[in-house]
């Protein structure tokens, strides 16, 4: 017989009770002599409170029985075990649960990083175009067009890929040194990239890179990943999930960038365009990042692109001595392309 206390769940009054075991049940005896029997299966452990372990009663809201901690010697077998991490984890143990979760999570991450590339080729182009359209519509009025400029751009695109006709390459009057591939086979070249380039070879390198993104369906794969695993993990996983998503996204896109660089180098080789232009471009980007501080190097670990100096090296190394490289555009064409925004009659 152990002395305990009871809240019966109907009123807040605390009853002094005596508790004893009887087979698979607990007998709770009130001070006035009444008693009730609680089967072991109905008991669950709530908490340790001072010198008492507190138990609840399945199906009786607020029923709480305090049993002295010292009573575990006599009542031990009847009292349910302590709950800690959650039912599944308590059952198999913390470390086994951690190991299991690591295995499942690793498998999930593996699939999540591979499966977008598997699925991407099967995504209909029309479906993909629907995602690019709002972005293109948002840029309405910023596209640059002149007859000579367009002709030069088309010529350059055609030297880099046999499927130039399926691509929509546009120059946008935005003052950043960059280019982008959008869902729906759109390639955007931002004006500053053109005006700052020292020759058509620089542009050819960047354009070949963006074409490779589209032909490898990297844009599609990134979308598939974001709309499936990315959405799920960052919503269900909260802060941890969002961090993981950022990390995986940067990992994924770094892989895609490297692949696009390799394809771009091959495309330049096929077209007999010197890769030194692209190398010079990345050297420029690298110098700019270096100006922003040594932080740049550290950031490249989590950034979405490989470090520019690494890319410069790769393009420079692909240059073959003795190859007769030819400029992809003649000086007149290149000038027309560089001035495509300034000379656009609709923009003056």
């Amino acid at each position: 017989m152990e002395r305990g206390w009871l809240y019966d769940g109907t009123s807040a009054v605390r009853h002094e009770v005596e508790v004893a075991g009887a087979g698979e049940s607990l007998i709770v005896r009130y001070a006035d002599g009444d008693s009730s029997e609680v089967p072991r299966a109905k008991l669950f452990h709530v908490d340790g409170r001072g010198d008492f372990e507190v138990f609840g009663h399945v199906g009786v809201d607020g029923w709480r029985l305090g049993v002295p901690k010292a009573a575990s010697a006599t009542l031990g077998p009847i009292l349910p075990p302590r709950r800690r991490y959650g039912r599944w984890i308590d059952r198999i143990g913390l470390w086994k649960a951690v190991a299991g979760a690591v295995a499942v999570s690793a498998a999930l991450i593996f699939v999540a990083t591979r499966f977008p590339a598997w699925v991407a080729p099967f995504v209909p182009k029309s479906w993909e175009a629907g995602f690019g359209a709002p972005i293109m519509a948002g840029l309405e009025g910023r596209f640059c067009n002149t007859a000579q400029g367009r002709a030069a751009l088309s010529k350059l695109t055609a030297t880099l890929t046999p499927r130039a006709g399926e691509l929509d390459v546009q120059v946008v009057d935005i003052g950043i040194v960059n280019a982008a591939a959008l869902p729906g086979d759109h390639i955007l070249i931002f004006e500053e990239l053109l005006t700052r380039a020292d020759g058509p070879e620089e542009l050819a390198g960047v354009l070949a890179h963006e074409i490779a993104h589209i032909e490898n369906r990297h844009v599609t794969a990134a979308m598939v990943r974001q709309l499936t695993f990315g959405l799920f993990v960052s919503l269900v996983g909260g802060g941890t999930g969002a961090n993981l998503e950022t990390f995986l996204q940067s990992r994924y896109s770094r892989g895609a960038e490297s692949e696009a660089d390799e394809d771009a180098i091959r495309a330049l080789q096929r077209a007999r365009i010197s890769p030194l232009g692209a190398a010079a471009f990345f050297a420029k980007v690298g110098r700019e990042e270096a100006r922003m501080g040594a932080l740049g190097r550290g950031l490249s670990y989590i950034s979405t692109h490989p470090a520019p100096l690494e890319r410069e090296r790769r393009f420079r190394a692909s240059a073959e001595a003795g190859t007769a490289y030819k400029p992809p555009l003649d000086p007149e064409e290149w000038r027309a392309l560089q001035r495509i925004c300034r000379d656009d009659p609709a923009r003056r």
């Binding site: 109907t10 709530v46 908490d47 607020g62 709480r64 293109m136 993990v233 269900v236 909260g238 993981l244």
Partner: protein
């Protein structure tokens, strides 16, 4: 039977404090660390169970009058509540996609897209209000004391409307109506809540809050006036050299005033706000008191920063713990509680947990 049923609180503890926090960081650390570990290895899904474990500990180390509180919410129900809301939000996400697609069409489509966008965001605005009431209801329904819990039978649907119009009034008054809106919304939430068979009653008003709220405006306007007056006088003098440097110094000074002065004034406002809403909220002959002054809040926040810096970030695990124990240590009750006549709540225990509030990332109080 227990004879002493009506307990004057003053006699319960020497300092007349109805609440005490009895937890220690040594006890909490293993909970926080295993929570972190399990959350990471489960890609974040364990966070629901982690929250339940954390609250279970914090509640169990909170003594109210003569016994400790108990948190009975489970990770599973919070996870399911979240999934429920998550599924409900999928059509909303689709509508947002549809609206942004409509924007690419002709004028009529653009108008339709705009209306759709307005409807979706209006709906989310409304649901934010609903969620804050439901989160409070859930927390009370899982909080036990003497085997008795709280709750509410109100679904928050009308509160959502009240939240909308008072928040809009706040915006349109250039936030001058903030103390008014916040206290009225506090009342609207707590007047719907109960513990046992007793209803909470809250009648907070903006008394004493308006002055502190206006100080924020004073600091901002004052900083700008001083800056422009000084800039204008310098212009008049036409300082041949050093004028630019003095102006820059003045601008820096203004930013310091704004970035330190405004948060401090905000802190002073919220210190007064919580004291006011506590002392005007009560239940069955009991009235709450919240004793934290601006300086206490400031020390709490500086403590957070210090802890995180000294522990190189690990201390962030203790922010929730520190906030909770701060609240408990400054909370008090006045009046008598008739324990024999406190009976179980008849409210339905909600099953949606904090799903909605979690989705909108808002707290309950």
């Amino acid at each position: 039977m227990d004879a002493k049923t009506t307990q004057p609180l003053g006699e319960e503890s020497a300092r007349g404090e109805a609440f005490a926090f009895t937890g220690t960081w040594q006890e909490f650390l293993p909970i926080a660390l295993t929570n972190l570990l399990l959350t990471i290895v489960t890609l974040g899904i364990y966070r629901f169970w982690a929250k339940a474990r954390e609250r279970q500990y914090l509640w169990s180390r909170t003594r109210m009058i003569d016994d400790h509180l108990e948190w009975t919410g489970t990770g599973k129900e919070m996870f399911l509540g979240f999934l429920m809301v998550f599924l409900a939000l999928i059509p909303v996400i689709c509508l947002i996609f549809l609206a942004s697609y409509l924007f690419t069409g002709n004028t009529l489509a653009k108008i339709l897209g705009g209306l759709l966008m307005l409807a979706v965001y209006g709906g989310l605005f409304y649901m934010t209000g609903v969620a804050s009431l439901r989160a409070l209801r859930y927390r009370l329904s899982r909080s036990y004391w003497h085997g008795i819990r709280g709750g509410s039978d109100d679904g928050g649907w009308r509160y959502g409307l009240e939240y909308m119009w008072r928040t809009l009034a706040m915006f349109f008054s250039l936030f001058l109506a903030t103390p008014w809106a916040q206290t009225r919304l506090w009342n609207a939430r707590f007047n719907k809540m109960s513990f046992g068979q007793h209803r909470f009653h809250a009648e907070a008003d903006a008394q004493g809050l308006m002055k502190r709220w206006l100080i924020i405006y004073g600091i901002i306007i004052g900083a700008f006036v001083v800056f422009f007056a000084a800039a204008a006088s310098m212009n008049g003098v036409r300082a041949p050299s050093g004028g630019g440097a003095a102006l820059a110094l003045l601008a820096i000074g203004m930013f310091i005033v704004l970035y330190i002065g405004v948060p401090l004034a905000l802190l002073a406002y919220y210190a007064a706000y919580y004291r006011r809403v506590a002392e005007t909220t009560g239940i069955a002959g009991l009235r709450f008191r919240f004793h934290a002054r601006t300086m206490d809040w400031l020390l709490l926040l500086l403590g957070h920063f210090g802890l995180i810096i000294i522990t190189l970030g690990v201390g962030a695990l203790f922010i929730g713990y520190r906030n909770y124990s701060f609240a408990v240590r400054h909370l008090d009750l006045e009046g008598d509680v008739d324990i024999a006549r406190l009976t179980q709540s008849s409210t339905r225990a909600p099953t949606d947990a904090e799903g909605l509030a979690d989705a909108f990332d808002i707290g309950a109080i």
